[in-house]
Amino acid sequence: MSELFLIAHLAGRWVAVAASQVDSAVDIGEVVAVPCAPPAVRGLAALRSRVVTVIDTQVALGREPAHRARRAIIAAIDGHHYAFLVDAFDDVFPFDAAPLSCGLALDGRWAVAARGVVERDGEPLLILDLAALVPAGVVTDGAIAA
């Protein structure tokens, strides 16, 4: 069964992101830094009337910061909107998702975010799970047990 994937270019390679995760793909404006936040959080940006948390996808994958990246995939994860920086987009295509081939040794961060493989014109592309790239925060909410 084929699914829709957005093909994006980041960290020097093409990857696939499930279209169901993607809200929109845009060029973002000025990013306001968030001091003390985890390195993967580039800052905050305004997207129309909404504030999005900008994630430097390359840092989240354990690589060098992508300073020039201005395009981003917008996704809503757990009620918050995030902008994942990418170098470029291709388009949305239907692909058949295949499981990761066994024996494939991915580097730590990639391993956490990879959900499978799709094949574009014979070239295998990793499926990235954006939710896995969001840096964890300390959850502090408690509910009232009445």
């Binding site: 959080v41 300390v138 959850v139």
Partner: protein, 772 residues
């Protein structure tokens, strides 16, 4: 109540519309369990609502239908056609009645008994009533999903931003006045629209209160307790979302009050209280805060037991518990897993803590406070912001960046360049001294690792544990911000409370004062320990307050003599009775000055006390608390100045506290005792006592052993038995005295006071003679 009724009508209509399909399907197949359940739920809801809306007719119908349907659900009755018809007739009737209530038109109730009778098992099948022409009034209210409102709000914000951008672009070039006019109109409309839409989010707190009577009853009954609930201020409005967030804490507090606070009726009777406990829930708005008070007249919090439990639980060491102030002891109730009750009950459970309640209230930017009166009751005060989302904030700049600080958490902002602020290095940390108050200093630029952030001002930030000075750059603006939660990764830093998109179109972060204190590693020492530090400091030398006097001289005054520093209006200072006096709430305070105080504006005033007498000392400005050197150069010929001391390398005059108070007359310490000889009517206590007490006497109706009265007052028709000590007696008459009659008319105040004073003096004179 009107709102509730409207809501009930809207809800019933809505359900009836949805139910009409179900009813037809149920009629076709009476054994269909899902349809049966839907109809049962409907009548059950109607019955419940009628209970507190006081709609007995509707309630009776719904109740009858519910009984029958319950029997069908249990399988004790078969859903035959007669039964289905009877139930449907009732559902129809509920619809008609609801419309009649909405229209405010009467509807005769003659057929209702028949409808209910038709539900009986052996009833004659009901002739299907022809549905009369139904009049349906147009509803004036619409039910909306909160989601839709949120989208409306978001759209509104977009609109505001678009307008701002348009205005900015237009400003860059020469602009046609007509375009400018149109833009102005647009701005105005957008502004009004924003207000209106914000108001759609407001809801009366009634929505929260309406469920309370039932909840109190349901909680109290199984416990065998009687509780009267009073609700005040149900018309206070606040954000819908806030109402939802308050629901759980409120339910918890009320259950606690009923379960733990209010005693069982028998115990209450034994204690001399009314059998039914009283629970008062009130709401009021103060500024942009809503204050919710829940008070009961139960047993209050047993602080001693709380302490014992805290010790047993190993929460704090016994020494630390012993050193705690009353306030801190009471606050132990908020410690996780600590409850003042020994036995867990079905209602509150055990160890379900006030800690969770406090956490929840604080999460929505609120505060919780307790007023405990052991044995008499407990009042819990919740203070929450009016809306979740709009917070008055101060925008500060640090380097290139801007941050918002909630205005509520800021006590004041002081510029660093003034004399009022001084910054010192203590070890590797810094402290700021602001007008004698020493505060830990956190430099925001350093904490946030922002380069080029020069500290220009200090914001005094108040947190629950203590205050600290936050070094900031410029104060840029003060505005109301729509604040949204930040992503967990940002929240995890612990220093941000939210994010916002101000009119500039650039996102901004809202700082969290308590979080900053924690991130900077500030540890606030409990007040007791600070007191100890001050005690040791006093052994080194006298602490004194350094200030600029009205004549411009820099002087110091021993701190022990300063009760407090306050700012008063110059108009409260008057030359009366030959000297300057300050009007205060309950009288006047004499003033001592070194120069003429200003006639207008505000005056800083030191309230001095030697423990007995109080005087005021107006000054120009208070600076800081200094420790006086032991050596002091004496001065001569300067009344009011004890000497000159060197403080921080500067010569300052030391005010002669002794001289300040030497001229003052202490208020009379001894008040002579008047014995009131009761005539049994209580007139003496009610009318005479206040007059005498206001004149400086003490009153009693019986003498304590060993006590003698300075004067005895009695009615002339009931004179006291001749007392052994020969105390003077003043006799009062009920009617004015005729010529030749003795005694004083009891309403002749002047004569009465004069007579008491004369007797008092005669007695004093006598005593002096005896002493000679």
């Amino acid at each position: 109540m009107d709102d509730l009724l409207q809501e009930f009508i809207a809800e019933t209509r809505e359900t009836l519309d949805a139910l009409s399909g179900e009813i037809v399907l149920w009629e076709a197949n009476p054994t269909d369990r899902a349809r049966l359940d839907a109809i049962f739920r409907f009548v059950h809801t109607v019955k419940g609502s009628c209970g507190f809306l006081d709609l007995p007719r509707l309630g009776r119908l719904a109740h009858a239908a519910e009984d029958v349907l319950a029997a069908v659900r249990e399988g004790t009755r078969a859903p035959d056609t007669a039964l289905v018809n009877a139930v449907l007739a009732i559902v129809d009737r509920i619809g008609e009645l609801t419309e009649a209530i909405a229209a405010g038109s009467p509807l005769d109730d003659t057929t209702e008994d028949l409808l209910i009778a038709a539900l009986a098992e052996d009833a004659v099948p009901l002739a299907p009533a022809s549905a009369g022409p139904q009049t349906r009034t147009a509803s004036r209210s619409v039910r909306l999903a909160v989601d839709l409102l949120d989208r409306m709000m978001a759209g509104m914000s977009d609109m505001v931003l678009a307008r701002n951008e348009l205005a900015r672009r237009l400003r860059d070039q020469p602009i046609d006045p007509r375009v400018e006019g149109a833009l102005e109109r647009l701005s105005l409309t957008v502004g009004e629209m924003r207000d209106t839409i914000s108001r759609t989010r407001m809801q009366r707190i009634e929505a929260l209160f309406s469920a309370m009577p039932r909840m109190v009853r349901d909680t109290a009954t199984p416990l065998g307790k009687l509780v009267t609930l009073e609700v005040e201020g149900a018309d206070v409005e606040l954000d819908r979302e806030m109402i939802e967030l308050l629901r759980d804490p409120l339910v918890h507090i009320i259950r606690n009050a009923v379960d733990h606070g209010i005693e069982p009726p028998a115990l209450r009777r034994a204690l001399g209280k009314r059998e039914a406990g009283r629970l008062l829930v009130s709401a009021r708005q103060t500024g942009n805060q809503i204050v919710l008070e829940i008070s009961d007249d139960g047993r209050g919090i047993d602080v001693d037991r709380l302490i014992a439990k805290a010790a047993a639980a190993g929460l704090h060491s016994e020494a630390k518990l012993a050193a705690m102030t009353d306030r801190q002891r009471l606050d132990l109730i908020f410690a996780p897993g600590l409850s003042s009750r020994d036995v867990a009950t079905a209602v509150s459970g055990r160890g379900v803590g006030m800690d969770v309640v406090r956490a929840n209230i604080e999460q929505i930017g609120g505060r919780i406070a307790l007023r405990n009166r052991p044995g008499v009751g407990l009042t819990i005060e919740l203070q929450v912001p009016l809306t979740l989302s709009i917070i008055p904030a101060i925008v500060v700049g640090v380097g290139e960046q801007r941050f918002a600080l909630p205005r509520q958490s800021i006590e004041e902002i002081v510029a660093i360049r003034g004399d009022a602020v001084r910054i010192d290095e203590l070890g590797d940390s810094r402290v700021a001294t602001v007008r004698g108050r020493r505060l830990p200093l956190v430099d925001l630029a350093t904490l946030l690792r922002i380069e080029g952030g020069r500290m220009q001002a200090l914001a005094i930030v108040g947190t629950r544990d203590g205050n600290f000075a936050l070094g900031i750059g410029a104060v840029l603006d003060s505005e109301e911000l729509v604040v949204k939660p930040v992503a967990p990764a940002v929240m995890g830093t612990g220093i941000y409370a939210g994010q916002t998109l101000p009119d500039s179109g650039l996102p901004m972060l809202l700082l969290d004062g308590a979080g900053i204190a924690a991130a900077a590693g500030l540890r606030f020492v409990p007040q007791v320990l600070v007191d100890e530090d001050q005690a040791t400091a006093q052994e080194r030398g006298i602490d004194a307050l350094l200030f600029d006097d009205l004549d411009g001289q820099r002087r110091v005054l021993p701190l022990a003599a300063v009760d407090r520093v306050e700012t008063v209006s110059a108009s409260a200072i008057r030359l009366t009775g030959g000297r300057l006096h300050l009007s205060v709430d309950d009288g006047v305070v004499p003033l001592v000055t070194m120069a003429e105080p200003p006639a207008t504006g505000q005056v800083t005033l030191l309230r001095l006390t030697d423990g007995v007498t109080e005087i005021g000392y107006p000054i120009r400005d208070a600076h800081e608390i200094v420790t006086l050197p032991v050596a002091m150069a004496p001065v001569r010929g300067r009344p009011g100045i004890a000497g000159v001391a060197v403080v921080n390398g500067e010569q300052v005059e030391v005010v002669d506290g002794h001289a300040l108070f030497a001229g003052e007359i202490a208020p009379p310490a001894v008040r002579p005792l008047c014995l009131l000889h009761h005539d049994g009517t209580g007139w003496m206590d009610t009318f005479l006592r206040p007059v005498l007490e206001a004149s400086g006497y003490r009153c009693a109706s019986t003498l304590a052993p060993g006590e003698t009265a300075a004067v005895t007052l009695a009615m002339d028709d009931d004179p006291p038995a001749a007392s052994a000590s020969g105390d003077p007696v003043v006799l009062l008459r009920s009617r004015p005295a005729m010529p030749g009659e003795a005694g004083i008319y009891r309403y002749d105040r002047a004569a009465l006071i004069a007579a008491v004073a004369a007797e008092m003096e005669a007695r004093g004179g006598l005593r002096q003679e005896m002493a000679r």
